[in-house]
C-alpha cells in the first residue's frame, strides 16, 4: 500500500494542531503540573565536587526534621551489573545509568546526585538537604578531553579498559572505546592529491536547552503497583529503565507521558523517575520531583564537547582523493558519547575513494552526555564542513560546486559501509544553487557561508490503534510522546487513509498499559515509524469498514471500494446501492459485528537518510567581534512533508539550536571543576531577536519504504549551522574560527591577530 504519487487531500496541508489550544491557554499538563492526593516532594542532594569518593552519608539529622518522610541513597537501589541496552542512537549501560541517577562510591561530577529526600513541602525538603551530611574524599579531576586521554590523567573508573584495541590493554584508561572505519588506500589517496588541507577544530559541550526541566510524580501502591507521570521522550523507556534499575516487573509499572516542553534527545534517559519511585516506596507517599534549572545544567546530559582533526586531499578540479578524520568526544562521567554516529556521519555525504576515520569515546568529570539532536553529527560536520570550505578556498573553487563534485549519490558506497539508495543530497545542493539567496548581493563587512549535513534517521518498534467511534469520529492512539507535533501528523495520515476530515480524528498518546510497546521518540522516527503503524491500523479499519458495508448490502467484501470516506459497491454491483459514509457504518456497527477498531504493532524498517544544505549570511562587527545572522536558508530533503508547517518548524528549530552552538553556548567551569553558568542568563541560547526569519525550503524525494514517502526531518537541521556560520564569518571578516563557540571575544581576538 502506497500513497506516494497519489493525489492527497489531507497530507501536505496545514491544519491547526490538536494540542494547540491547551498549550496557548496554559491548560496543557506538563511534567510539573500533575498533583495527586497525599503527594509529598522530593529533592536531590548533589555533589559539590567534580570527583570525590563518598566516605559516609549521614541522614539522621535530616530524618529528625519534622515533615521529612524518607531519605534514599545508593544503598536503597539494587547494585546492578553491567548490561548494555540499545537506547535509540547510542548504547547505554544500566549499571552506569543507575550510578548516574544516584552516585555509588564516587561522585563523578559537580552536580552528581548523592542522596534524595522526600518531605511534606518543597521548603522542608530543601532544608533537609542541608542536614544530610556527606563526607567526601576529594579526588583529582579532569574536564578536558585530551587531558583525560593522557597517560597520567586521573582515572574515573578503575575497571574501564579501552575497547577496540588489540591486544586488550592491561591498564585502565579514560578512553572507553576506539572506533575505526577505513575505505581504500589512504596513503595512496593523499599521494594522488594536488592539495592537502589539515586542520584541527574543537567544540564545547552544549546543553539541549529544553525549556521544561525534568519532572515526575511517582506512586507505589501497597500491592507494589507503581505509576509514573513524567516528561520524557518515551514513557515505555521510563517504564523499562525504572523496572531494571529498581528490580520491578514491567507489568507492575504504568507510565504515562506528560506534555513535554522540549527534549531534543536529552529526555531519552531518566534522572528523577527512579529516585521518586524509591522515595515513594520508602515513604508510602506519592512523590513529586521537579528539577530546578540549575539542576538541569549541573546534573543532566549535555552534548559531547570534542576535538575534530580533519585532513582532506583533492585534485585541482576539486575531486576528493582522500579524507582522514580523528574524533575525540567527551562522554562525561560514563562511557557512551555519540562518537560512533559522529564517525559514521563525518564523511557520509561524500564520495571519497580513500578514507580513514578514527573515534575515541573518553570519560571525564562532567555530567554524562545525553543524546542531542543528531548526536555526534554536528561535531563531526563542524570539522569536515569547515575544512571543505578551507579546501575550496585553497583550490579557488566555489564551495557549492566543490560539494556538487563530491556529493554522495545513489549507488555510492559510504565510508561507514552502506551503499546509498534513494537519497536526495544532490537535490538539496541543486535547490541551494537555484535559490535567490545564493546569488543575492552582499554589503561591506558581510559574508555568505554554506554547509551540509547528514543524519541516518531510525525506524523501530511502534504500536498504533485506530478506533471508530459510534458517531463516526475516530481516535488514533499511539505510544509515542509528541515532542514535535507528531499527534497532528498521525491524525492526518489516518484521516487520509480513511478519507475523512482531519478534525474528525482525535490523536492521543496512550499510557504504557493502554497500548503496545513503542520505542521512544528519538532518531526522527515517529512520523516515519509510528506513522507507518497508524497508516497500517487505519488501512485495517478500512478493510473492516468495507466488510461491514458488504454485510449491510449482503455482497462480498471484495465487491466494496473505499474512497472519500465512503463505501461504494464496485464491479458488478456498481451503482446498485447508495454509498455508505463512515459515520453510517459506525452507527450500525453493533448490528454488523461490533466495535470497529484495529491495531498495528510493527518494527518499521527503511527510514530514509536525511540530507540538508544551509546558506547563511552574516555581518561581523570588527570592533566588538559580534556576529549578526542576516539571512538564513535551510534546504532539506524531507521525503514527504505530512504537515509542512511542522516540518518547517523542525528546520527552523534545528537551525536556531545550531546557531546557539555556533555563537555563544558553552559551559564555563571554575578551577575546581564546578559549573559557573548553570542558568539561561549566562548559558546563552539564542533569543528570538538574535535570528532573522529562517527560510525553510522543503525538497521532497520520497522514501519508498514509507506509505507516504516520509523521511525523518528533526535532526539534520542542527548539523550544518556551525560550519555555515564559520564559513560566512571567514568571508565577512577574513578570519577562520576553528574553536566553538565563535563568541565575540574570540572573533575579536582573531580579527586583531589578523591585523597584526
Amino acid at each position: 500500500m502506497t500513497f506516494i504519487g497519489k493525489d492527497l487531500k489531507v497530507v501536505g496541508t496545514r491544519p491547526i494542531r490538536p494540542d494547540g489550544v491547551d498549550k496557548v491557554t496554559g491548560r496543557a499538563n506538563f511534567g510539573a503540573d500533575m498533583t495527586v492526593p497525599g503527594m509529598i516532594w522530593g529533592k536531590i542532594k548533589r555533589s559539590p565536587h567534580a570527583h570525590a569518593r563518598i566516605l559516609r552519608i549521614d541522614a539522621e539529622k535530616a530524618l529528625r526534621l519534622p515533615g521529612v518522610k524518607a531519605v534514599v541513597t545508593a544503598a536503597d537501589f539494587p547494585n546492578i551489573a553491567a548490561e548494555e541496552a540499545f537506547a535509540g542512537e547510542a548504547i547505554m549501560d544500566f549499571r552506569d545509568l543507575s550510578r548516574n541517577c544516584m552516585a555509588r562510591d564516587k561522585a563523578l561530577y559537580d552536580g552528581h546526585a548523592v542522596a534524595a529526600v522526600a518531605a511534606s513541602t518543597p521548603a522542608i525538603a530543601e532544608a533537609a538537604l542541608e542536614l544530610i551530611d556527606v563526607e567526601y574524599e576529594v579526588l583529582p579531576f579532569v574536564i578536558d578531553v585530551e587531558k583525560a586521554m593522557a597517560a597520567d590523567a586521573p582515572l574515573l573508573h578503575g575497571e574501564l579498559f579501552t575497547q577496540g584495541i588489540e591486544p586488550k590493554p592491561t591498564a585502565p584508561s579514560n578512553i572507553a572505546k576506539r572506533i575505526n572505519f577505513t575505505k581504500g588506500d589512504i596513503e595512496k589517496g593523499f599521494r594522488e592529491a594536488d592539495v592537502v588541507i589539515e586542520r584541527r577544530y574543537t567544540t564545547r559541550p552544549v546543553h539541549q536547552g529544553y525549556i521544561e526541566p525534568h519532572a515526575c510524580v511517582a506512586t507505589v501502591a501497597a500491592d507494589g503497583q507503581c505509576s509514573i507521570w513524567s516528561s520524557s521522550q518515551g514513557h515505555f523507556m521510563v517504564r523499562q529503565y525504572c523496572a531494571h534499575l529498581l528490580g520491578i516487573d514491567i507489568a507492575n509499572i504504568r507510565a504515562a507521558a506528560a506534555e513535554i516542553g522540549g527534549g531534543f534527545g536529552g529526555k531519552t534517559l531518566i534522572y528523577v523517575e527512579p529516585v521518586a519511585l524509591a522515595l515513594a516506596k520508602k515513604s508510602g507517599h506519592s512523590v513529586k520531583i521537579v528539577m530546578t534549572r540549575e539542576e538541569v545544567f549541573r546534573g543532566t546530559g549535555p552534548a559531547a564537547g570534542s576535538v575534530i582533526e580533519v585532513k582532506l586531499g583533492a585534485k585541482k578540479d576539486g575531486r576528493l582523493t582522500a579524507a582522514e578524520v580523528t574524533l575525540k568526544y567527551q562522554a562525561g562521567a560514563f562511557p557512551g558519547s555519540p562518537v560512533g554516529p559522529g564517525c559514521m556521519c563525518a564523511l557520509a555525504m561524500y564520495d571519497v575513494p580513500n578514507a580513514n576515520v578514527t573515534g575515541y569515546d573518553v570519560v571525564c568529570n562532567r555530567p554524562k552526555v545525553a543524546a542531542y539532536r543528531a548526536p555526534g553529527a554536528p561535531n563531526a560536520s563542524w570539522g569536515v564542513e569547515s575544512c571543505l570550505d578551507e579546501l575550496a578556498l585553497a583550490l579557488g573553487l566555489d564551495p557549492l560546486s566543490l560539494r556538487e563534485k563530491n556529493a554522495a549519490k545513489d549507488g555510492v558506497k559510504a565510508v561507514h559501509g552502506p551503499t546509498w539508495q534513494n537519497i536526495g543530497y544532490a537535490e538539496t545542493l541543486a535547490a541551494a544553487k537555484a535559490h535567490p539567496h545564493w546569488r543575492a548581493p552582499l554589503g561591506a563587512g558581510q559574508g555568505r557561508g554554506i554547509a551540509s549535513g547528514f543524519w541516518f534517521n531510525i525506524g523501530g518498534e511502534s504500536t498504533a490503534s485506530v478506533h471508530v467511534n459510534e458517531d463516526g469520529t475516530v481516535v488514533v492512539a499511539t505510544g509515542s510522546p509528541d515532542i514535535g507535533g507528531s499527534r497532528v501528523s498521525m491524525a492526518m495520515m489516518v484521516a487520509e487513509v480513511l478519507g475523512v476530515a482531519v478534525e474528525r480524528v482525535r490523536p492521543i498518546v496512550a499510557d504504557t498499559s493502554s497500548i503496545g510497546y513503542t520505542f521512544l521518540t528519538g532518531g526522527s522516527r515517529v512520523t516515519f515509524a509510528t506513522g507507518m503503524a497508524a497508516t497500517e491500523a487505519a488501512s485495517r479499519v478500512v478493510d473492516e469498514l468495507k466488510k461491514r458495508a458488504a454485510v449491510i448490502w449482503e455482497i462480498s467484501p471484495e465487491a466494496v471500494e473505499w474512497r472519500d470516506g465512503m463505501a461504494y459497491p464496485a464491479g458488478q454491483n456498481a451503482g446498485a446501492f447508495e454509498p455508505l459514509p463512515l459515520a453510517e457504518i459506525a452507527f450500525r456497527s453493533a448490528r454488523t459485528g461490533g466495535p470497529i477498531s484495529a491495531e498495528a504493532a510493527i518494527n518499521a524498517q527503511g527510514p530514509g537518510a536525511g540530507f540538508g544544505t544551509h546558506i547563511c549570511d552574516v555581518e561581523v562587527d570588527k570592533e566588538t567581534g559580534a556576529v549578526k545572522i542576516l539571512r538564513y536558508t535551510a534546504i532539506q530533503d524531507v521525503g514527504r512533508a505530512i504537515h509542512p508547517a511542522y516540518v518547517e518548524g523542525q528546520l527552523q528549530g534545528g537551525v536556531t539550536q545550531g546557531v546557539g552552538w555556533a555563537l555563544n553556548e558553552e559551559y564555563i567551569y571554575d578551577k575546581d571543576g564546578r559549573l559557573e553558568n548553570p542558568g539561561f542568563l549566562d548559558y546563552r541560547i539564542p533569543v528570538a531577536s538574535d535570528l532573522p526569519m529562517i527560510d525553510a525550503v522543503l525538497v521532497e524525494v520520497p522514501n519508498p519504504r514509507h506509505p507516504f514517502g516520509v523521511r525523518g526531518v528533526g535532526e539534520v537541521p542542527i548539523i550544518p549551522p556551525t560550519a555555515a556560520v564559520a564559513n560566512a564569518i571567514y568571508r565577512a571578516a577574513g578570519v577562520r574560527l576553528r574553536d566553538l563557540p565563535m563568541s565575540p571575544p574570540k572573533v575579536l581576538a582573531a580579527i586583531d591577530e589578523e591585523k597584526g
Partner: protein
C-alpha cells in the same frame, strides 16, 4: 522553617520604621526582578521584605521647571513610555529599555537597579551622566545625594540602616545638551552588560563640546565617571583625533575583572569602542536640539 515577614507600608515613616527595626537582613522590594531571583536561588535569605510600591510617590514621574522627578519604584516601562523624558534624555530611557525583557520592564525600577548595586546595571551610567541625584530618607531625615554616591561596591551601598531611596531628581537638559547609552552583550537582548557606556554632552558654538560626562559600567566595582574622557571631549569637535583620545581615556579608566561574562582584555577594548560610538550619538543629538 525560618520565618520571612512581608511588610507593605503605606507611608514613608512606616517604611523607615520597618527597615530600621530588627537585627536580621531586611530587603527592600521594588519590582523584585533581582530580589525574587536571589530568594529563589538562596543567594539572599532576608528575614523581612519591605515592599516599596504602596508608598506615595514611589511610583510615578513628575516634572518641575528644572527637573524630572522619578519615583524610585517606577517600573521601567513607565519610564521608557514617558514622552517628555524620552525627548529630554533618550540615553536614560533607552538604557532602561535595555534591561531584561518587556516583562521585566513591567516591574524593574531605577531604585532597584541602583540598590542591587551590580557594576553592570544598565540604567545607572546614564543617570549619573545626567548628574541626577537621589532623595534618601531614613531615621535621621531626608538627604539629597548624587546618584554616584550610592553604590560603593558590588552589592554594597552607602545607604544606612533604615534608609530608602524615595525618588530620583534628573535635571532637565540645557540647550544643545543630549545623552546616549550603549552596552555590549553577546546576544541582542535578555543579557547583562559586558560593558556599558553613557555619554552626556553639551555643545556650544559651532558644535564644540562645552561640557561632558562619560560614565562606564561593568568595567570596575561600580559605575565609573571617566573625567579624563570628558576632558578629551571638552573644547573639541568630535573628530578622529578627539575620538582617539576618548577611546584611550575610556580604556585607561577600565579596571575590569575576567569572569564568565568577559575577559579583562576584551572589556577594555570594548569600553573604548562604546565610548566612541555613544559619543557620536550624543553629539549628533546635541547638535539637533
Amino acid at each position: 522553617m525560618s520565618g520571612l515577614s512581608f511588610i507593605a507600608p503605606k507611608t514613608v515613616e512606616e517604611a523607615v520604621r520597618a527597615l530600621a527595626a530588627g537585627d536580621g537582613l531586611t530587603k527592600c522590594l521594588a519590582g523584585g526582578t533581582d530580589l525574587l531571583v536571589q530568594l529563589r536561588s538562596g543567594r539572599a535569605r532576608p528575614e523581612v521584605i519591605v515592599d516599596m510600591k504602596r508608598i506615595p510617590g514611589l511610583i510615578g514621574i513628575s516634572e518641575r521647571e528644572d527637573r524630572f522627578i522619578i519615583g524610585a519604584a517606577t517600573p521601567g516601562a513607565m519610564i521608557s513610555e514617558c514622552g517628555p523624558l524620552c525627548r529630554a534624555w533618550p540615553g536614560i530611557t533607552e538604557a532602561v529599555d535595555l534591561i531584561g525583557s518587556q516583562q521585566i520592564q513591567g516591574r524593574a525600577s531605577l531604585g532597584g537597579n541602583l540598590c542591587n548595586a551590580s557594576p553592570a546595571a544598565d540604567s545607572v551610567p546614564a543617570v549619573i551622566a545626567a548628574r541626577a541625584t537621589c532623595v534618601v530618607v531614613g531615621p535621621e531625615g531626608r538627604r539629597e545625594v548624587p546618584v554616584e554616591a550610592i553604590v560603593t561596591g558590588p552589592g554594597q551601598t552607602s545607604l544606612r540602616k533604615g534608609e530608602l531611596i524615595l525618588e530620583f531628581h534628573v535635571p532637565k537638559p540645557r540647550p544643545h545638551q543630549a545623552d546616549a547609552y550603549l552596552r555590549f552583550i553577546p546576544r541582542t537582548e535578555m543579557d547583562i552588560a559586558v560593558v556599558g557606556c553613557a555619554v552626556n554632552v553639551t555643545l556650544g558654538d559651532k558644535g564644540v563640546c562645552r561640557d561632558a560626562r562619560v560614565v562606564l559600567g561593568a568595567v570596575a566595582p561600580t559605575a565609573v565617571i571617566v573625567t579624563e574622557a570628558a576632558e578629551a571631549l571638552v573644547g573639541h569637535w568630535l573628530d578622529e583625533e578627539t575620538l582617539g583620545r576618548l577611546d584611550a581615556a575610556a580604556r585607561r579608566a577600565s579596571k575590569p575583572i575576567t569572569d564568565k561574562r568577559g575577559t579583562i582584555e576584551y572589556r577594555i577594548k570594548v569600553a573604548g569602542v562604546l565610548a566612541r560610538r555613544a559619543a557620536a550619538i550624543a553629539f549628533k543629538r546635541a547638535g539637533e536640539c
